[in-house]
Amino acid sequence: MTNPSIETNHTSPIHGDVVIRTENVSIYYGSFQAVRNVFLDIPKNRVVAFIGPSGCGKSTLLRCYNRLNDLIPGARVEGKITYQGVDLYDPKVDPVEVRRRIGMVFQRPNPFPKSIYENIAFGARVNGFKGDLDELVERSLRGAALWDEVKDKLKESGLSLSGGQQQRLCIARAIAIEPEVILMDEPCSALDPISTLRVEDLINELKQQFTIIIVTHNMQQASRVADYTAFFNAEAGETGSRFGYLVEYAPTEQIFNAPQQQATQDYVSGRFG
């Protein structure tokens, strides 16, 4: 099935259902434009990686998808982001509901200062989960490949786990509320190589059920986990302030082996200056 949104001047590389559509989005912090004119479609049940140099607005754009930028005073979004056809920034849309459907795993592991069990049960409870909590906790921990390591100490604090375990706990917490999309902002940047590989395996499994957008600085990681890759870059604008923009968005294969843009070529081959 081809994508119906191709009428814009930006051709979309996506085949299949589109979950999130980003149309001409610019993001501002006060008067500072951090991200300019992004067109980007996120396909269903695929992994999309955002790569690019530091400060080019990857996190900023990612946070727009679950309206986490609402918390930052002065942050403002222009353009249109739709999630399954619904405008995310429509005044009638409840941001709390958006965040339930679009979960997030952060760069640094940030478990709640509660027990391992409660870390998962809390999200379920606040979202009105009516089923068997014990079962949900086990299923989520299994889903995040953490169950075997923590099944005997569910009552212990989530903060007592190692960094890698904490990050997997955060992933378990995110999948427990059964979102449709999971946003991951450099989820492995605080992890050792082994934990990183486990999280990557996990991402590969999770994409059966979820749509995943992952920000990463690690090219190998992007090439290992992502179906599609978006390369962002930053450039000084007319006023001299740097803004980020989408350079190229294509199947990961193509970004790494046959990029259309010179900047992408330079970045993925490590010749970025």
């Binding site: 986490l68 952060f106 999200g123 606040v126 979202n127 917490r173």
Partner: protein
């Protein structure tokens, strides 16, 4: 004094290496360390002598009449023996009343300024008031309670004492709670919102439980302050030679006011009771401080 041979030496060294610690510098460092230690000793001296005085004067009476100081009422002048159970009960009641008012108000004020107000006009104003309030002389707090409670009720009472104490306790509770709330990392706040929880759910289910050690510390510190205050109680709770049958609407004895009254009394027995009461107040405050320290060490972050 010693500088000439030493500086020659240091010049000689500097020919070899560009860096060398001049001996004067070491001497200066040692001198300053000594000075600091001396100042510490100077600061500890009053504390040690107070403890010594209170122990030496109060302990004998306390041990001699062991259970009865706690269980009997103060005797009339010139009668020996007796105790101050009314004052012990009164101190507990006024302090708890103070806590009952100041703790909920203080916690909610702190939640507002940190979680909701974040630097807006109202929260800045609240913070300013907290600073002013913590510097207010305690007798002013007593005057305030006299004005709004004693005059309104037409009687001195533990209620008025509690109101006066709560004015002094609230800033302590607000400060420590604010400190606790600020210690919660931004990442965790983002996680709360990211999970689809409302602000309210996050504060009550995640943030407040994590801040509990701070709140407990603040409450115990505030109680320690309340237990030792005299001035705000002088014309609010006043004093009572007997048990207050209804402390909420009757003058009530407290340890601190008992100490004040009996210390300046000409009767030997009352002077002794004052010393014994002083020892109890000191021990009470010491105990509360120890508890608050152990609570602080259970911090989550």
């Amino acid at each position: 004094m010693t500088s000439s041979p030493n500086s020659a030496n240091s010049k000689g060294q500097s020919a070899v290496s560009q860096y060398s610690v001049a001996p004067q510098r070491q001497f200066f460092g040692n001198f300053m360390t000594g000075l600091v230690l001396f100042c510490v000793a100077l600061a500890l001296l009053p504390l040690a002598s107070i403890l010594f005085m209170v122990l030496s004067q109060g302990l004998s009476r306390l041990l001699q009449d062991f259970p009865s100081v706690f269980t009997q009422l103060p005797p009339p002048p010139l009668v020996d023996g007796g105790g101050f159970r009314n004052a012990i009960v009164g101190t507990i009641i006024t302090s708890l009343l103070g806590a009952l008012i100041s703790v909920p108000v203080g916690i909610m004020a702190a939640i507002y300024t940190v979680e909701f107000g974040q630097g807006n006009r109202i929260s800045q104003f609240v913070r300013f008031c907290t600073n002013v309030l913590s510097g207010v002389p305690s007798i002013i707090a007593g005057l305030f309670a006299y004005g709004i409670v004693v005059l309104a009720m037409g009687t001195f009472s533990a209620t008025a004492g509690g109101v006066a104490l709560s004015v002094l306790m609230a800033p302590i509770v607000i400060r420590t709670t604010e400190e606790g709330l600020k210690s919660i990392p931004r990442d965790v706040r983002q996680a709360i919102v990211g999970i689809g929880a409302t602000n309210f759910q996050g504060i009550f289910s995640v943030i407040l439980p994590a801040v509990l050690p701070f709140i407990a510390t603040g409450v115990t510190l505030a109680l320690a302050r309340a237990a030792g205050e005299t001035a705000p109680l002088l014309f609010t709770a006043l004093f009572n030679q007997y048990d207050a049958r209804n402390p909420l609407r009757e003058p009530t004895a407290t340890l601190s006011v008992l100490i004040y009254n009996y210390a300046i009394s000409p009767f030997r027995n009352q002077n002794e009771l004052a010393w014994a009461a002083a020892l109890i107040v000191v021990l009470l405050i010491l105990g509360i401080s120890v508890i608050s320290r152990s609570l602080t060490s259970r911090k989550v972050y």
